[in-house]
């Protein structure tokens, strides 16, 4: 019996661990790039990584470090800097964390949300938040961090963009682009698209580019070019084959070259090209491109790679011609990339 109790005690001593371990806050400098690591859905392992462009160092779990060890939540979907605040959309935790850009400490959390996805800002006191489940668009005040009102959408709205005094939203469930007057918040027009419009960007000519994934039943992907003054469809570029998927969109610093994630890597095309790019600018190879962003000043291209979705992913940094400059490890499932200023 004594031996039995001894075994128990030894096992107990070796198995006790403190759950209060905290990391030191990490100070922020200029030239910082924030990597949003989505984490696995329902695993609660989302995180933020901070890349210093000058000394090429990476700080992992920066939110946790700078907020008393608290994790950021479940599925960090997107983020937008508005003035000195960073609005981080934590999709499955139903919140937007509002961070001070100077040190990434939490100022507030906007909690009255369901499954938020993206933010588009109309003015310092008005921004729109799309939602996966709520069938509504939230109108929030980025200054007071409150939800001002909601707008009926009757379905899932994904990415949004503002141009010519209007909000353009990709309405996934209805396969349409909805256009909203940002003064009256009334729906002006709905433009039908291919299946599942998800991403949208506005180029230098105030033309909206919308990518449609094509859904999942063998339908083709497509890229829509919509003129925002008249809201007419200028062009539709359809994928050559049904497996040529068009995903996330980004523009370069002069907003005249459109880049998109596709079947074999990252593609780019001039906004006036009139033809869909079909040869990747940066080939994917055996990598797994998951998200990307283009630096608004240097035009460097950052592409995230989720590897196997179960380990810390990697972000590749390329010059604008597509030559790889370096690569660094970040958190689990890196998605969106935000350049802090």
């Amino acid at each position: 019996m004594k031996q039995f109790i001894s075994v128990l005690l030894i096992l107990f001593v070796f198995s006790c661990k403190s759950d209060d371990e905290q990391q030191e806050p990490v100070p922020l400098n200029q030239s910082m790039v924030l990597l949003l690591n989505e984490g696995n859905y329902n695993f609660g392992n989302a995180s933020l990584s901070l890349y210093n462009e000058k000394d090429k160092t990476v700080n992992h779990k920066i939110f946790q470090s700078n907020n008393q060890g608290r994790p950021i939540g479940d599925v960090v979907q997107s983020a937008l800097q508005i003035g000195n605040k960073l609005f981080v959309v934590v999709n499955n935790s139903s919140k937007i964390e509002v961070l001070d850009v100077s040190d990434l400490t939490s100022i507030a959390a906007i909690q009255q949300l369901n499954s938020p996805r993206y933010i588009a800002v109309a003015n310092p006191n008005k921004a729109y938040v799309s939602d996966l489940y709520e069938d509504k668009l939230y109108v929030i005040n980025p200054t007071s961090h409150v939800v001002l009102k909601t707008i009926e959408t009757k379905g899932w709205v994904e990415e949004m963009a503002i141009a010519s005094g209007k909000l353009y939203m990709t309405h996934v469930d209805s396969n349409q682009v909805w256009i909203l007057d940002i003064v009256t918040d009334s729906i002006l027009q709905k433009i039908s698209t291919h299946k599942q419009p998800q991403y949208i960007e506005i180029d230098k000519n105030k033309t909206a580019w919308v990518s449609c994934s094509g859904g999942l039943n063998g339908s083709k992907s497509a890229l829509y070019q919509i003129e925002t003054l008249t809201d007419s469809v200028l062009s539709i570029f359809e994928g050559v084959t049904s497996d040529f998927k068009i995903g996330e969109l980004e523009l370069n610093s002069t907003r005249d070259e459109l880049h998109f994630l596709g079947k074999d890597g990252l593609y780019s095309m001039n906004v006036s090209a009139g033809i869909l790019a079909d040869i990747p600018k940066i080939g994917q190879g055996n990598r797994l491109f998951y998200g990307f962003s283009i630096h608004p000043i240097t035009n460097e291209i950052y592409i995230s790679d989720a590897i196997d979705y179960q380990q810390r992913g990697v972000v590749y940094r390329f010059d604008y011609s597509g030559n790889q400059l370096d690569a660094f490890k970040v958190g689990i499932i890196p998605g969106d990339i935000v350049f802090l200023n």
């Binding site: 075994v7 609660g44 392992n45 939540g73 599942q196 810390r312």
Partner: protein, 630 residues
């Protein structure tokens, strides 16, 4: 012979003592079963263990009494099993020889299997599961309902009251004679599960209570056994079960209201004929499962239903000193769900032939081959070789085996809309195992010492994994190959002296379950432990019975579990200490009454089996049982 004498002595004594503690079933002889089982590398847990109120359900029991690792999402929540480092779909759960694994997702939720419905549970590790069918790459858990012939009417009922609103009511009525038996079992189980936890995700780390975790389980089982002339036995079982459970959210989620309802009808007919030197068994089952899922936040209401007809025929005979086992199986599965555009059907046939004989004195070889055929299209041949050596002078039994197994993709893997992948390949394993069993009885001290050690190796090719994509959906792929290897140690000491019965039991398993493929230069998962598979797991338990008093203590240790494939993230190890006491009394005439009380997680360890899912802190229960026999 001395060992056999000791075993019999212990078995009889333990049986007598079991009657004092009015286990609902007393006819099983645990020590004998355990002694036999080790030579075929399976653990057998009898009714005296199953009736211990410390064990809430099958998952809870197996996590304490076997080498299995149970990945539990909380009390009453989803509990999947990992055996020898394999995945949840790599363990078969069989009921009287019929697989209960879902044809939709390939796995079993052990939280939905009440222990009260089982008379015996055994675990077959690795290739040993192949005798019952394919798919058990890690092994198989076998649930049995057994006849209890005898001219007796008995009634057993118990009521358990525990922390966090737990209530459990069991009722068993048995009647019949030497030729016919009817056994009816009814269960009702509920819990609020609103235990307190420290919220490490909220500023200030406040204490909160788990919400949305209530569950209710209701079930009825009817077993009929009929002895027919000329050594024939006919069995019929019906198992009805309903579970309603709220699914508690991760603590990183602010609000999430998910509800899952499971409805199961399991029916089975078995015919056995015992000839002079052969046995014929035919088992047929109809299984119907319905799962209703609601997610209020996402506005999701979905239903999936499966209907399966599964049958097997076993014929065992001896031919020129060769023990032959021939088996044929046919399964028809039908599934319909919101995630499937149309109802899906799948037919599987399996044939199995095994031959065993002593090639020289004390060395026995067995050779077997199993075939699997899916929809008359794909087929697999799975050979297996086993050698046993008995070294009686040292009380040692040594064995080695090697062979192949296969796990065919589930219907969800293949056909789930939008991303089911009909091009998936079956997961195929190549395994080898060696083991040694030492067993020694000391008649004068009325003591039986048993120990075993096993080393295993398993290579699983075409590991199926569901992955998100950049286009907003998840897709299953044959991603990696994995190697698992490890060892299992088992020690048990039984002693029965006068009115005192002692049992000390210890298990330890080491499991290295690793991926050896690298996707590209930044993939750091190569050579690393697979996620949520503990390398170290151990258990120590002590049972004491003195006349009509009993004491039980169990200590469980679960080592760290990595939660990222590069092993950069982990959950800390934890250990749980449980204890209980019981006292039984003869009441009036043939009536017995027993009281038991226990504490779980005595050390009040704060732990997470799954990241951000808190588990119960220290909690208590009391139970009262009544048994009447006529």
């Amino acid at each position: 012979m001395r060992i056999l004498g000791t075993i019999l002595l212990l078995a009889v004594a333990s049986n007598l003592l079991s009657q004092n503690t009015i286990s609902d079933t007393v006819e099983i002889e645990p020590v004998i079963v355990n002694g036999n089982s080790l030579t075929t590398n399976q653990e057998v847990l009898d009714s005296s263990i199953l009736s211990n109120p410390q064990h809430l359900n099958l998952g809870d029991l197996l996590s304490k009494k076997s080498h299995l690792f149970i990945k539990s999402y909380g009390i009453g929540s989803l509990a999947t099993v990992s055996l020898r480092g394999s995945g949840a779909a790599h363990t078969q759960v069989n009921w009287n020889g019929i697989s209960l694994n879902s044809s939709m997702n390939g796995s079993s939720d052990l939280a939905l299997f009440p222990l009260f419905f089982m008379d015996e549970v055994s675990v077959k590790y690795g290739l040993n599961s192949l005798a019952d069918g394919t798919g058990g790459i890690g092994g198989a858990v076998n649930i049995s309902t057994l006849p209890e012939f005898g001219k007796q009417l008995s009634l057993y009922t118990s009521y358990l009251l525990g922390s966090f609103g737990q209530e459990q009511l069991n009722l068993k009525i048995k009647g019949g004679d030497d030729k016919f038996q009817s056994i009816t079992k009814i269960i009702y189980n509920q819990a609020d599960n609103n235990f307190e936890y420290r919220d490490l995700t909220t500023e200030g780390f406040p204490n909160k209570r788990v919400n949305n975790a209530r569950f209710i389980q209701k079930g009825v089982m009817q077993n009929l056994f009929l002895k027919l002339p000329s050594n024939q036995l006919l069995e019929a079982s019906l198992w009805l079960f309903n579970s309603e459970r709220k699914l508690p959210p991760l603590i990183t989620l602010r609000n999430n209201t998910e509800l899952q309802e499971d409805l199961a009808i399991k029916s089975l007919i078995k015919y056995s004929k015992y000839f002079n030197s052969s046995t014929l068994k035919v088992t047929s089952a109809y299984l119907s499962d319905e799962l209703n899922y609601q997610n209020e936040r996402a506005g999701i209401v979905s239903t999936s239903a499966t209907n399966s007809f599964r049958t097997r025929l076993d014929y065992e005979f001896n031919f020129r000193k060769i023990d032959v086992h021939a088996q044929a199986k046919y399964d028809h599965d039908n599934a319909s769900a919101d995630g499937l555009t149309t109802a899906v059907n799948q037919n599987r046939t399996e044939f199995y032939l095994s031959a065993q004989r002593f090639i020289i004195k004390r060395i026995k070889t067995s050779l077997s081959i199993r075939s699997l055929n899916i929809m008359q299209a794909e087929s697999y041949l799975l050979p297996q070789l086993r050698i046993d050596y008995q070294l009686k002078s040292l009380n040692l039994h040594v064995y080695a085996l090697a062979g192949k197994n296969v796990k065919y993709p589930s219907l969800n893997d293949l056909y789930y809309v939008p991303s089911g992948n009909v091009n998936l390949q079956a997961e195929e394993s190549e395994s080898a195992e060696i083991g040694v069993v030492y067993q020694r009885g000391v008649v004068n001290n009325k003591l039986l010492f048993t120990s075993s050690a096993t080393l295993f190796y398993n290579n699983i090719a075409n590991f199926i994994q569901w992955e998100p994509t950049a286009f907003g959906f998840w897709k299953p792929t044959n991603l990696k190959s994995a190697e698992t290897m490890g060892s299992e140690l088992f020690i048990e000491v039984n002693q029965v002296k006068g009115k005192i019965k002692k049992q000390f039991n210890a298990t330890y398993s080491y499991t290295a379950s690793k991926n050896y493929e690298k996707q590209h230069e930044f993939d750091e998962s190569r050579g690393k432990q697979l996620i949520y598979i503990p390398e170290h797991k151990g258990n120590v338990s002590l049972d004491l019975e003195v006349e009509n008093f009993c004491f039980f203590m169990n200590y469980q240790y679960i080592g760290i579990r990595f939660i990222s494939s590069d092993n950069e993230e982990l959950l800390p190890s934890y250990s749980l200490l449980d204890a209980s006491v019981c006292k039984s009394l003869k009441w009036k005439g043939n009536s017995f009454i027993a009281l038991s009380a226990g504490v779980k997680n005595i050390l009040d360890i704060k732990y997470q089996a799954i990241e951000w899912r808190p588990m119960p802190n220290r909690n208590y229960f009391i139970k009262i049982s009544y048994q009447f026999k006529k």
